[in-house]
Amino acid sequence: MILCPNCQHEEIAGAIFCSSCGTQLLMPKTSKTHEIHTSETKFDSVQVPPLRTTPQIRLSTWASLHMIESGQFVSLADRDEFTLGRVSEGQPIMPDVDLTAFNAYANGVSRLHCVIKKANRKASVMDLGSSNGTYLNGVRLPTHVETPINHGDVIALGKLKIQVLIDQTPDE
């Protein structure tokens, strides 16, 4: 017997998906989240470089993700909730923001790593049980707890550092 880590449903040995909640119980050979050592994540030395490009801001954009390493921007618009992670072949998980292009695998980003939300004009971040954790300004966040974030904060998904730029203009 095996226990589903998500819903504690008992499954017969050899089951690959939980029959009760659909959670995947056995992972494929490849694309396991790359484990990194926390010591590699040094926050004291984070130097956020000056913006190399101007973020293209659409009207409904309420926040932009500044990918510190590459200098690129990802804007969050139209919806109030975005999951961050990386798409991996053979997996049904589709994060709203796919970080594959930003070296997500090598940086230890989980397939479904964290979620950034906006509620009542406050932005927050919540770790979704990622392998290597989500850090806010260098402090590891507890899993499944929403933590408010402010303009200019740096979050790290494993080793992948992202500065969150939040739209400060008041709503019409």
Partner: protein, 492 residues
């Protein structure tokens, strides 16, 4: 090519039992009897089968014949097989364990290039009950005419309508006058109720009239309603149809038709049923079905299998070419293999005890099939699935990607199946909770639309203690559509 011998004529292996020989002969006789068969060559073939049976069914004559027969050469199978297991070995233990097998049959190339595309003998069986009035019937008519125009000279077409009774609008016709036939279709009007059996038997008669074993014989049923009281007769007719080499597919339009009935009807002949949520989609689905039939390489793939002690076939699902769950009893009617694709199945076995053996047999079956456009039956071949049993319990090795991929999407379909069973058993809260979890998983996958439908249905079940007709079909066929290659669960 091997010169035919009595075994290859009947399509049986050299070590066939008397029972196998008898069965193979009756199968051939039913399909090829001169009274029912008009295809050139079939009668000669029937005589050959007769001769073969006379010799092989007599043990003494068979021994003499066998002695004079050239040694059995390895037969070139007309299909290639690929089998992937979810795990390399089972573990020796008393507890039950699961193992999955992904089976893939595809045309072996050598045969493919030599064969012409098989002619079609199809019957459109159209529901013209009052509820079809308006867009539904208009689009069905337009599509029927489109199909008429696409027929090749060698194709045979018939059209039967039904309401309270059946009417043969176009009797089985080859190379008919297009103008006249179109006019007949144009005249169709709605009235009356839905009695499928009457229609089905008329369609069956039309297809049988032009039946040949070397062509694709098929009935496509379109309905938007429920038939009452004659379901069992319909299912019996389906069993008879497949015995005689005629397949059935079903298209259900709107929300009122009986999906479990149509699924079962099609499943018995190796076909599938499809859900048409909007009249606009009738045309696309029907044309797709028609194109599929023209692409058939081998037909009526059937696996007969023996029950094995301590092994249960828990679940069987066809992933290609048409999605659908399969019966768990022998024989499995699997439908066709298309020229440009494969027939893919996913089987789940429950091993209740391994009782300290080195190798365990999961499946012991015999695969039969018919190559379209060839009269000679193809020798059936054995398919056995075995797994070694390891004495030590290791950490389970990761399953192959193909299996995970198939199962990850299938798990959604299975969850809604579970919810359906729970509603049927009166466990409404459980069903509602399960659907909520399903919605969460769909959201995670970015499938917002289907997730919303599922959530609404979870509410509906909580309040009304039953599925809504439409929601039920949307969820069932929506989660099934997730399994289509490159599909995000959108209904066609």
């Amino acid at each position: 090519m091997e010169s035919p011998n009595y075994y290859s004529i009947l399509g049986i292996p050299r070590d066939a039992s008397q029972e196998d020989i008898r069965k193979a002969f009756f199968d051939a006789a039913r399909r090829l009897h001169p009274d029912t068969n008009i295809a050139p060559g079939d009668t000669e073939f029937f005589i050959g089968a007769n001769e073969a049976y006379e010799v092989l069914s007599d043990v003494k004559k068979r021994a003499i014949y066998d002695a004079g027969l050239a040694p059995d050469r390895p037969v070139h199978l007309p299909v290639a097989q690929r089998i992937i297991f979810s795990r390399n070995n089972l573990v020796n233990m008393q507890d039950p364990q699961l193992v999955y097998a992904l089976l893939e049959f595809s045309p072996s190339l050598e045969n493919l290039n030599n064969l012409p595309s098989p002619p079609l003998n199809i019957c459109l069986l159209i529901d013209r009950s009052t509820s079809m009035k308006g867009a539904n019937l208009d689009i069905v008519k337009a599509t029927a005419k489109q199909i008429l125009r696409r027929l090749r000279p060698q194709d045979i077409f018939s059209l039967v309508t039904f309401s309270d009774r059946a009417e043969t609008i176009i009797p089985s016709t080859q190379n008919g006058d297009l103008f006249k036939l179109e006019a007949r279709i144009q005249m169709l009007q709605t009235s009356g109720g839905t009695e499928i059996f009457n229609g089905l038997i008329a369609a069956f008669t039309e297809v049988k009239r032009s039946f040949k074993s070397t062509i694709v014989n098929h009935i496509i049923l379109l309905t938007d309603g429920r038939t009452y009281g004659d379901e069992n007769q319909c299912l019996e007719l389906a069993d008879q149809a497949i015995k005689e080499g005629i397949g059935i597919s079903g298209l259900g339009i709107g929300s009122d038709w009986n999906d479990s009935f149509l699924d079962e009807l099609a499943r018995r002949t190796g076909g599938s049923s499809f859900y048409v949520s909007h009249p606009h989609d009738i045309q696309q689905l029907l044309m797709e079905k028609f194109d599929h039939l023209g692409q058939i390489y081998a037909e009526d793939i059937t696996i007969e299998f023996q029950k094995i002690k301590n092994i249960e076939l828990n679940y069987a699902f066809r992933l290609q070419p048409e999605l659908g769950s399969l019966s768990l009893e022998s024989p499995l009617h699997l439908g066709p293999i298309l020229r440009n694709g494969c027939l893919t199945l996913l089987l789940e076995f429950l091993v209740s005890s391994t009782s300290s053996v080195n190798v365990i047999k999961l499946f012991d079956g015999q695969v039969k099939l018919r190559i379209s456009s060839q009269s000679n039956p193809v020798s059936s071949f054995a398919m056995q699935l075995t797994r070694p049993v390891s004495m030590t319990t290791n950490k389970p090795e990761p399953p192959p990607n193909e299996i995970i991929q198939a199962l990850s999407q299938l798990s959604f379909y299975k969850m809604q199946e579970q919810a359906q069973l729970e509603v049927a058993a009166g466990n409404y809260d459980q069903a509602s909770n399960r659907l909520q979890r399903l919605a969460t998983n769909l959201l995670e996958q970015g499938n917002r639309e289907l997730a919303r439908t599922v959530l609404l249905e979870a509410e509906h079940i909580k309040e009304k203690q039953t599925y809504s007709l439409e929601g039920h079909k949307r969820i069932k066929y929506g989660t099934r559509a997730l399994l289509l290659p490159g599909n995000g669960g959108k209904l066609p």
